[in-house]
């Protein structure tokens, strides 16, 4: 069946476009959000590459604008259009309807998941780096960005396999010591990703696992965030996921502001006053 792709305008990244360094005349298809995140790239005709240069590293510095003539055969299927007036405020970041314009949401959906195709797909061979024809076989295992996998899963074209961040190894790590798991560098969007993935994959244990992780990490680390020292960043901050980091920032910024307010107009006078020894008489 022909793969039907929507022109997903939301994901259009309008950045600079450089000509392909290998000069094969076949440009590459890159989905890229920022330099920090893994970019999914595929190349057509991998075997025909000249020079042993690994093009993957080049792609990390380029971004491609998706040109109109290379868009896939687009028969627009009917999808409910996203709400053009998303709810603003803190309540917008719920599992069901996150803000459409929310940047961190967009970034989060760029994470790669491994999917298994239920149907063959024509014309989208560059999703699969190893294919010769311009198509994807049924039953192939491919890495897709989450937003794409999400849509395809809704149409029952693929099935998503649970990524490693919710696998057994992670569960063991969390059980051992949740506060030491380094979500900041490995999976900064751990919780949001889990929330989104949870209804798509048949595994019901992800939800309680997320909650348990969050609860134990909160207890260890976030509850101390108010009095975290203001100049030096405590070490655990680097291990927080984005969501946890926002909580930490909220506490810290309100503390900083309060402290600034307290010493306003006083300058150095405050310190000397507090240095006075206080004689306590309890009677």
């Amino acid at each position: 069946m022909n793969m039907q792709f929507l022109s997903l305008k939301r994901k259009e990244k309008t950045t600079l476009q450089k000509p392909h360094p290998l000069g094969l005349g076949l440009s590459c298809f890159i989905l890229r959000s920022s330099s920090n995140f893994i970019s999914i790239h595929g190349r057509i005709g991998q075997g025909r590459e000249k020079g042993g240069k690994k093009a993957g590293t080049d792609f990390g510095t380029q971004a491609l604008k998706r040109r109109g003539k290379r868009s896939f055969p687009s028969q627009i299927t009917s999808l409910p259009s996203p709400n053009p007036y998303p709810p603003t405020g803190i309540g917008a970041s719920t599992c069901t309807m996150p803000g459409y314009y929310d940047i961190s949401d967009i970034l989060m959906e760029d994470e790669a998941v491994s999917v298994v195709f239920h149907v063959g797909a024509n014309g989208v061979g560059l999703l699969d780096p190893g294919t010769e024809t311009n198509s994807v076989e049924k039953g192939a295992k491919i890495d897709l960005p989450f937003w794409l996998a999400h849509e395809l899963c809704r149409r029952r074209a693929v099935s998503i396999t649970i990524p490693s961040c919710f696998g057994q190894k992670m569960k063991k790590d969390v059980q051992a010591d949740a506060a030491c798991v380094d979500l900041g560098t490995r999976y900064p969007y751990f919780y949001e990703f889990g929330c989104k993935l949870f209804p798509l994959v048949g595994d019901k244990s992800i939800g309680p696992f997320l909650r348990h992780t969050f609860a134990s990490r909160y207890k260890e680390m976030l509850s101390k965030s108010h009095t975290a020292s203001l100049n030096a960043i405590p070490k655990f901050v680097l291990r927080l996921s984005k969501e946890e980091y926002q909580l930490f920032e909220a506490a810290r910024s309100s503390m900083v502001e309060f402290k600034k307010w307290r010493v306003r107009d006083l300058g150095l006078m405050k310190a000397t006053i507090l240095g006075h020894k206080r004689k306590t008489d309890l009677h």
């Binding site: 803190i90 970041s93 209804p199 939800g207 609860a215 509850s223 502001e257 307010w261 006083l266």
Partner: protein, 211 residues
């Protein structure tokens, strides 16, 4: 709420809380003669020298800055009362002592502008600092006990500035817990053997003080 500086975080800045605190009434002893002031918030009687009268705090501070009055310390700001409060705070690990709602702001304004009117100003200042530290420490240790079951957190006798300090963090934490919790409650209803008690059993609120 209308007075906030940052709607998305729903916090007041510290200066805004101070602004609200300045509406509290306080007693002054003017040293000039002045006619009655008819203001929107009320009428403040003709000021006669050495006759004490009650005015809002902002007016008192303004008059004090111009040297037209001297401020009489409120009762709760005496050394004995503060020492009592401090000892009581240290003894009860989960309760907060009743203090005026804006005690932080009022004490700061008075200590800044009217420190010559307060007897034993250094003692008072350090006592208030201690009280604030002990209370905040209690708030923090209470924060650690928030778990997934918490619907609401009740903190009795907390003052305005302290509430403002923890508000963004606590609101977001409760929301985060709620986000992780609610879909699963629905899911878990399907499973036959559910170890966690269902919604009905949950306590209505999690008190940070003994019930």
């Amino acid at each position: 709420m209308a007075g906030q500086s940052d709607h998305s975080l729903s916090i007041f800045s510290a200066a805004e809380v101070e602004f609200i605190a300045e509406d509290e009434m306080i007693e002054i002893v003017p040293n000039i003669r002045m006619d009655a002031l008819n203001l929107l918030c009320g009428d403040f009687g003709p000021f006669l020298p050495q006759i004490p009268c009650k005015v809002p705090l902002w007016l008192a501070v303004a008059l004090k800055k111009r040297g037209k009055c001297s401020i009489r310390t409120p009762d709760w700001m005496s050394v004995e009362k503060l020492t009592q409060v401090l000892e009581a705070e240290r003894e009860s690990p989960r309760e907060f002592q009743p203090l005026p709602f804006h005690y932080v702001e009022i004490s700061r304004l008075l200590l800044d502008h009217a420190h010559d009117d307060i007897p034993e100003v250094y003692m008072v200042r350090s006592l208030i600092e201690d009280i604030r530290n002990v209370r905040f420490h209690k708030v923090e240790s209470g924060l650690e006990t928030i778990s997934g079951r918490t619907y609401a957190v009740k903190l009795k006798n907390l003052s305005a500035m302290e509430v403002n300090l923890v508000r963004p963090f606590m609101v977001r934490v409760l929301q985060a817990f709620d986000k992780h919790d609610s879909p699963e409650t629905v899911q878990q209803a399907d499973t036959s053997a559910s170890k966690r008690p269902q919604v009905v059993d949950r306590g209505l609120r999690r008190d940070l003080r003994p019930r």
